[in-house]
Amino acid sequence: MSILVNKDSRIVVQGITGSQGTFHASQCLAYGTQVVAGVTPGKGGQTAVDGQVDVFNTVKEAVTKTGANVSLIFVPPPFAADAIMEAADSQIPLIICITEGIPALDMVKAYDYVQRKGVRLVGPNCPGVITPGEAKIGIMPGHIHMPGRVGVVSRSGTLTYEAVGQLTAQGIGQSTCVGIGGDPVIGSNFTDILKLFNEDPDTDGVIMIGEIGGTAEDVAAEWVRDNMKKPVVGFIAGQTAPKGKRMGHAGAIISGGQGTAADKMKIMEACGIHVVKSPADMGAKMKETLGL
C-alpha cells in the first residue's frame, strides 16, 4: 500500500559518516527502516551509527555486498551531484537526495546522467520519502505520520509536515509522502509522482503542495485533468510573494511574470483539482473530498 518505498526497501546512505548522515540514518533505523549500508570514500571497512551499519568506499561495493536498492544522499553540495551519478551508475533504481544548495548546472548534468541510466531520482533539496509504518527514507519526523490511503506530494519540507499533521489529526492516514524538492532542477516532478499514486491501488486521493516559480504545477494539473482517476487537493504557497525575489527555495521565484500562485491555482482549479486558498484547510478539504 504505497509507492516508491516499502518495508522491503534496502537503503544505502551516502555520506553516512557526516553529522547529518549519521543522525538521520539513526532516525531512519529507529523508525524500522532497513538501512543496510553506508558509503563514505576513504572510510570503507569502518562502521557507522554505533556499529549498526557497515561503511563502504563506493556505492558499487555497497550494492554488491548488501543488495541495497534505494540510496539516500547527505553528501555536501560540492560533491552531491557526483554522489547522485555514482548511485545511478550502480543501477540503484531509486535515489533520494536530501542535500540543499547543489549548483544548478551540476544538477543539469546529474539529471541528464540519471535519465540516461534509466533510474529514478527524488530531490535534491527535499525531505525524502516515507511510507508510514514501513519505511522512512529522509529527514521528516516519523511520529506525525499514520499509515493510510492518502498520498502527499510537495516541493516543500515543513509544509508537507503541516499537511501530514492535519491529515493525521483528522484521522486520515497516508499511503506515501513524497518531497520532490525546492530546487529548479529536480529528479521527479509532480506529474511523475501523481502517475505512481494514480496506479497505486492503495491510494484513494492525493494532496499536492506546490509553490511559486516554474510551471511544473501547470503541467501536472493538465495531466490530472486528462488521466487522474482519484481526487487531488491542491495548495500553492507564495500567494503573497513579491515578484523577482527568491523565497528561500532556489526554485521559488516569480520571473518574467511567470509562475505566480494565482496563475497556478487558476489552472489547477480549471483542471478539476480541489484548490484550497488557506494552508490550514488541506486536511479538512481532503476529508470532505473523500466523503469521510
Binding site: A104, M107, G157, L159, V185, E211, G214, P242, K245, M247
Partner: protein, 387 residues
C-alpha cells in the same frame, strides 16, 4: 547573485565574447578621462544599477563631446533611477560605464538560462533586439528562436548556426555570431550563471557582432568555486536587513506589511504569509530560520524582525520535525529578554516537544501569546494588529 553590466562584460570578455571598449567610474572627471582615452566622437554614458529598463528611465545617454560626457556623467551619478524593475522608490546610481559609441546596423536579443521544464540550458535569440523578451513572447512568440543544449555536449556549432541564420545574418557575420554564441555558452557554464541576457546583441556596419549590453545572474550555490565572481557582489544594491540575515544563514525578504513572521522552512514560511493575508493582515517579511535552526539563529531572526519599525506584531510559526519546539521557545525567550519587545508576539508551536515549548513560553512571563493551529494563529495576529 546579480552583477552590474560592466562586471558581466568583464566575465564575457574573459571568455572571448566581443564587447565594446569601455571603463567604469564614479565621477565626471574620470568619465572625461576615460572617454578621451577611448577616443572617437561618440560615447555612451550608462548608469550601473542592478535593474533593467535603465534606458527608458533616463540612465543611458549618448554624448557627442567630452563636455557632454562630463555633464551627463554628473547628472547620472547620484541620480535616483526609477525603472519598471526598481519599483517606484528607484535606485541611486553610484557608477557609470563610459563606452565607445557604435555604428549600429541591427539589434538582436540573445539569452541563455536553465529551462526548468526540460532541466537543460535553453539558448534563445530574436530579431526583436532591445525589446523586453516577455513582451515579444506575449505578442509574437514565433519571433523567438530556441535551441536546447545537450548538457553533456554543450551548445553545438550547428545549433548556433541555426540561430545565426534564423536571425538573418549573412557572410562573415554568421561565423562571428556562432563564435560569440558558443563563447557565451562557455561563459554561462564556466561562471555558473543562472541567466545570461544580451539585449541588444549588435551587428555593426563592419559586420562585427558584439554584446552591447549584458546581464548576468550567478548561482549563489556555486559562488564557493568562483571567488573572483563572488568578489563582484555590490552590497550597496542590496537591502541592509537581507545582508544582515544572510550573515546568519537566514532567508529574509522585507515586505510592506506590519506582521513580522518567523517560520521554519521556505514553503511553510510562504504559506504563513499567505494565511496572514487571508486573515486580513499583511506580512512584514518572509523569514525562514531553516530546517536546522539553532537557538542562536532564532535569536538573530527575532532581533531582525523587531528591527523593522513597521512591525506591529510578530507571528512565530514552527512545525518541529527535527527542530525541537522547546529549543525554539528558549531562543525566543532569550531574544525577548535581550530586546525591548513592545509588540505582541503570537507563537504557534507544533510537532516535536511542542507542549514543552508552549509551557516554557507561558512560564516566561514575557507576555508571549501561545496559540494552537495555523488558522487560529493567523486570526489571532490579525486581531492584535487590527485592534
Amino acid at each position: 547573485m546579480k552583477v552590474h553590466e560592466y562586471q558581466a562584460k568583464q566575465v564575457l570578455a574573459s571568455y572571448g565574447v566581443p564587447v565594446p571598449r569601455s571603463e567604469v567610474c564614479d565621477n565626471p572627471e574620470d568619465a572625461v578621462k576615460i572617454a578621451d582615452k577611448l577616443g572617437g566622437s561618440v560615447w555612451v554614458v550608462k548608469a550601473q544599477i542592478h535593474a533593467g529598463g535603465r534606458g527608458k528611465g533616463g540612465g543611458v545617454k549618448l554624448a557627442r563631446s567630452l563636455d557632454e560626457v562630463r555633464k551627463l556623467a554628473g547628472e547620472i551619478i547620484g541620480m535616483n533611477l526609477v525603472t519598471h524593475q526598481t519599483g517606484p522608490e528607484g535606485k541611486e546610481v553610484n557608477k557609470v560605464l563610459i563606452e565607445e559609441g557604435q555604428n549600429i546596423e541591427r539589434e538582436f536579443y540573445f539569452s541563455i538560462l536553465v529551462d526548468r521544464a526540460t532541466s537543460t540550458p535553453i539558448v534563445m535569440a530574436s530579431t526583436e533586439g532591445g525589446m523586453e523578451i516577455e513582451e515579444v513572447a506575449a505578442e509574437n512568440p514565433d519571433a523567438i528562436l530556441k535551441v536546447w543544449a545537450d548538457p553533456a555536449v554543450g551548445l553545438t556549432g550547428f545549433q548556433a548556426r541555426q540561430l545565426a541564420f534564423g536571425l538573418g545574418l549573412e557572410g562573415k557575420s554568421v561565423n562571428r555570431a556562432v563564435k560569440l554564441m558558443i563563447n557565451c555558452y562557455n561563459a554561462f557554464v564556466g561562471a555558473d550563471a543562472t541567466l545570461l541576457e544580451i539585449n541588444p546583441l549588435m551587428l555593426n556596419a563592419e559586420g562585427d557582432v558584439l554584446a552591447l549590453d549584458a546581464k548576468m545572474d550567478l548561482d549563489d550555490n556555486a559562488l564557493y568555486r568562483h571567488k573572483d565572481i563572488a568578489a563582484m557582489r555590490d552590497l550597496t544594491e542590496e537591502d541592509a536587513k537581507e545582508i544582515e540575515a544572510s550573515k546568519h544563514d537566514l532567508n529574509y525578504i522585507a515586505l510592506e506589511g506590519n506582521v513580522g513572521c518567523m517560520v521554519n522552512g521556505a514553503g511553510l514560511a510562504m504559506a504563513t504569509m499567505d494565511i496572514i493575508k487571508l486573515a486580513g493582515a499583511q506580512p512584514a517579511n518572509f523569514l525562514d530560520v531553516g530546517g536546522g535552526a539553532t537557538q542562536e539563529r532564532v535569536e538573530e531572526a527575532f532581533k531582525l524582525i523587531l528591527s523593522d519599525d513597521n512591525v506591529k506584531a510578530v507571528l512565530i510559526n514552527i512545525f518541529g520535525g527535527i527542530v525541537r519546539c522547546d529549543m525554539i521557545a528558549r531562543g525566543v525567550i532569550e531574544a525577548a529578554k535581550s530586546q525591548h519587545v513592545s509588540v505582541p508576539v503570537v507563537v504557534r508551536l507544533e510537532g516535536t516537544n511542542a507542549e514543552e515549548g508552549l509551557k516554557l513560553l507561558e512560564e516566561s512571563g514575557l507576555g508571549l501569546v501561545p496559540v494552537q493551529g495555523l488558522a487560529k494563529a493567523a486570526e489571532k495576529v490579525a486581531e492584535v494588529v487590527g485592534g
